[in-house]
């Protein structure tokens, strides 16, 4: 196809529409729950007890739900305790020995714990023994 002269607005719109009709089958096969952005929104509405099940659905879901499973506690600098142990905890995680934690938690005096309060103590315990 050869385009001649200047395109006016109407024919441009018609052209774009035609193009989209050709691509139509691609557009329709899009599944909202395979799009990371949308799944992340879903993640913010899922109850805590369902988070782990959702994270195990697929890679995209895992990516979307992982930040919700983990959350961070940041201390006031003066109230920080056991900085060395926390550092080791993070090192341990970096060495891929513990569950995956998002990159963002590796900077700053933070420790990432499970949403489950009982397991939270489990994570702290790890700090003491290692």
């Amino acid at each position: 196809m050869r385009l001649e002269g200047r395109l006016d607005v109407d024919s441009t719109h018609a052209l774009i529409r035609e193009l989209f009709h050709h691509l139509g089958f691609v557009m329709q096969s899009a599944h909202p729950l395979k799009i990371l952005e949308i799944v992340s929104y879903v993640a913010s509405y899922v109850r805590k007890r369902d988070l782990t099940a959702c994270a195990l659905v697929s890679k995209t879901w895992y990516q979307a739900f992982n930040p919700s499973i983990w959350y961070d506690i940041s201390w006031e600098p003066r109230r920080q305790f056991l900085p060395k142990a926390i550092h080791r905890h993070i090192q341990l995680k970096k060495g891929n020995l513990g569950p995956e934690i998002p990159e963002s938690c590796l900077n700053g005096p933070r420790i990432w714990v499970f949403t489950d309060p009982i397991l939270y103590f489990g994570a702290l315990y790890l700090d003491f023994v290692t």
Binding site: H13, R17, L33, D50, L56, G98
Partner: protein, 159 residues
């Protein structure tokens, strides 16, 4: 002031400007195309049925305060209000809701997008990963190594 919108299958809808402006995309388009008001705005990946639903939603929520920041939507911190109208609105089958989520996503109608995501979150309540996969037709794309890693993580999260 009126704005005309055109769905992917060529149907034209005329709505008030402030209704259309609930869509971030249209709002931005209107700023750019100020001089060119006599042409309908083409929404090339939104069908007529979905567009009608989206407009219905926007008409009802035209006076709502706009929330631009995604952070404000984090339901665990601050649940968004869902009135009776919204509840009535979400009584549709899941295919329709998925189409609406896609439409809301492409038009960037944030409140509707979040309403749809909330609907999806309600469906997955108390479901196992396999059930969710079957229901939404999502493929299990974890490799065997990742499966092992997940099995290992599972013992941490006490699934």
């Amino acid at each position: 002031m009126k704005v005309t919108l055109e769905s992917s299958d060529g149907q034209v809808f005329t709505v008030d400007k402030e209704v259309a402006e609930l869509s971030v995309i249209i709002k931005e388009m209107l700023v750019i195309e100020q001089a060119n008001q006599d042409h309908p705005i083409p929404l090339l990946n939104v069908g007529a049925v979905e567009l009608a639903k989206v407009i219905e939603y926007c008409e009802h929520h035209r006076n709502d305060p706009t929330i631009d920041d995604d952070e404000d939507y984090d339901s665990r911190k601050k649940p968004i209000e869902m009135d009776d109208w919204d509840k009535q609105f979400t009584i549709v089958n899941k295919e329709m809701m998925f189409e609406l989520i896609l439409a809301a996503n492409s038009m960037q109608v944030k409140p509707l997008l979040h309403l749809g995501c909330r609907y999806a979150a309600d469906i997955v309540k108390r479901m196992s990963p396999t059930e969710i996969r079957d229901l939404f037709q999502i493929d299990d794309d974890f490799t065997p190594e990742e499966q092992d890693k997940i099995e290992w993580e599972k013992q941490w999260t006490k699934l």
